[in-house]
Amino acid sequence: MSRLVVTLSLLLLLVTGCLVTGCTVSQPGPADWRDQARQTLDDVSSEVATARLVLGQLDAGKVPSSYGVTMAADAEEAASKAEEKLSSLQAPASLGGLPDKVLSLIGRATEAVQQAREAVVDERYDVPHLRRELGRLHAALDRRKAAL
């Protein structure tokens, strides 16, 4: 039995060790920050596109409002979570003004997703202006990601 206990605890230690070393960024260097920024831009861009797609489908009458509300709320939550993850990461000084630019773009995108959610909840589906804005932001996020 004691052998069993030892084996089990060793295994557990190994797993936690792997997870801990794998999942933390202690002090991000410029490369770490860029990686995380790329990931966040990717995530937020995906949510922006989702919000736009949902608005379009609602407008076309292909999706019932309950489904649309859930999807828009999920997109908003995911976008703001991604934003928070990046903004809580200490940006290395060597990157200069880049982090601020990236974060402000992400901030605008998150806000647009939030507006989309508000529109969906209010059942205002015919919002061409907001859809165009989401489309522009989607493209901008992808460009920013490619440029990083």
Binding site: L4, L8, V15, C18, L19, T21, G22, C23, Q39, D42, D43, S45, S46, A49, T50, L53, V54, Q57, G61, K62, V63, P64, S65, S66, Y67, V69, T70, M71, D74, A75, A78, H138, D142
Partner: protein
């Protein structure tokens, strides 16, 4: 005539019961990010589950023993216990994911937050496991789960470039933006989603529940070799629909709503209604199966009376295990852990736990003491040995890949 009806019913429920929350999420996610370039992993996984489910079903039909009876007999109580702990942990994780999946599907219909649904769903699952007849549960949920076929219709209605998708699948054409480690990680996730160990626990225990004998082997084989591959085609349709709608937009799937949306794009509200019905049936059915599997595994290891073929009073410990699992699952979900994240963990940990289940089955399927003349043929043995090697490689590689790719980012 009656016999053909029974076979047809078995095949249909096998298709409807094949897809669960793991298949739904993983296939849609992979489709949105990798196109059909990982379709081969689904094909390999489905072929694998066919081979091993057939073996475990044959063992159940001939010897009337289910998987964990074999594990304890062949590996002894000590190694058997390690196996039990690993398998139950993975099955519980899947159980949590399935209950969360039902709750998420109900949120899509009602826009009532899924957490409010969790206790209701947990209670319903327990009631079904406590009261409903085994065959009724299987047939009703399996047939309702068939409504997921709407994914195939949607994939066809979206008019994708079939030549392109076929080419991606045939050449395993990884998209440029993704790394090989992520690609390998999702290959293992798809493999784990298709071959989830609980499917074998449930399949073999279900055979004992339904009192299979050697006469039922042909029916069982028909269900497995027709039903499971068609279920696999359903999985591929989910991926195809997702890739057609999402790849051009750069969306990667991370909610259940996104999994179903391509159907709405193709077929509108009616299609979407059918898909949600399919979500609820498939995840609810899988929740029942995983909940039972936890009880089956523990009871078979301990030798307690188990099964729904006896009155619940005669199998007290078995039903108590189910109550505890249901409470545990609901409790974990109430901590607001993301069910989709739990699903992603469950499919990868399934891949890790695969050898624990499949090794003893392969050994016993060759044992004439159990199977008499029904032992494995040469072809089955060659294929199964190949799969055993593959399973071990996937199992060993899963955790390092999970860490390196930060869960597939």
């Amino acid at each position: 005539m009656k016999r053909y009806l029974a076979v047809a019913l078995g095949v249909l429920t096998a298709i409807g019961g094949f897809v669960d929350i793991g298949d739904l999420v993983t296939n849609a996610l992979v489709g949105s990010r990798f196109g059909m370039s990982l379709g081969w992993a689904v094909v390999v996984g489905v072929a694998g589950i066919c081979i091993f489910a057939e073996m475990s079903g044959r063992i159940a039909a001939v010897s009337h023993r289910a998987t964990f009876d074999l594990v304890r007999e062949r590996l002894g109580p000590r190694v058997g216990l390690l196996n039990l702990v690993g398998s139950i942990a993975v099955t519980l994780l899947t159980f949590i994911a399935e209950i969360g999946g039902v709750a998420l599907a109900l949120e899509l219909v009602t826009s009532v937050y899924y957490l409010a649904w969790v206790p209701v769903v947990a209670l319903l699952v327990w009631l079904v496991l406590w009261r409903a007849k085994f065959s009724l549960m299987e047939n009703v949920l399996g047939l309702l789960g068939l409504s997921l076929i709407v994914f195939s219709v949607a994939a066809w209605q979206l008019h994708p470039d079939w030549g392109h998708l076929g080419h991606q699948m045939a050449t395993a054409d990884k998209p440029l933006g993704e790394s090989w480690t992520t690609y390998a990680y999702y290959a293992i996730a798809l493999f784990g989603a298709a071959m989830t160990p609980y499917e074998v626990f449930f399949f073999s225990s279900g055979g004992v529940e339904e009192r299979w004998t050697t006469k039922d082997i042909v029916t069982m084989r028909t269900n497995v070799f027709i039903g499971f591959p068609l279920g696999g085609i359903l999985s591929l349709s989910i991926a195809a629909a997702a890739t057609t709608v999402y790849s051009p937009l750069g969306i990667s799937v991370d909610t259940l709503g996104q999994v179903g949306l391509p159907v709405a794009v193709a077929l509108g509200k009616i299609g979407l209604a059918i898909v949600i019905l399919g979500f609820v049936a498939a995840t609810f059915g899988a929740a029942c199966e995983t909940g039972l599997s936890v009880g089956y595994s523990l009871a078979q290891y301990g030798g307690w009376q188990w099964g729904k073929y006896v009155k619940p009073q005669l199998a007290g410990a078995f039903h108590a295990t189910i109550v505890v699992s249901v409470l545990l699952a609901a409790g974990v979900l109430m901590t607001m852990v993301d069910p989709i994240l739990v699903t992603e963990f469950s499919v990868v940990f399934s891949a890790i736990a695969l050898p624990l289940t499949y090794f003893p089955i392969l050994v016993v399927a060759n044992d004439p003491d159990y199977l008499g003349e029904h032992t494995n043929g040469r072809v089955t043995n060659v294929l199964a040995s190949g799969y055993l090697v593959l399973i071990v490689i996937a199992s060993v590689a899963a955790l390092p890949l999970m860490v390196i790719t930060k869960m597939g980012q």
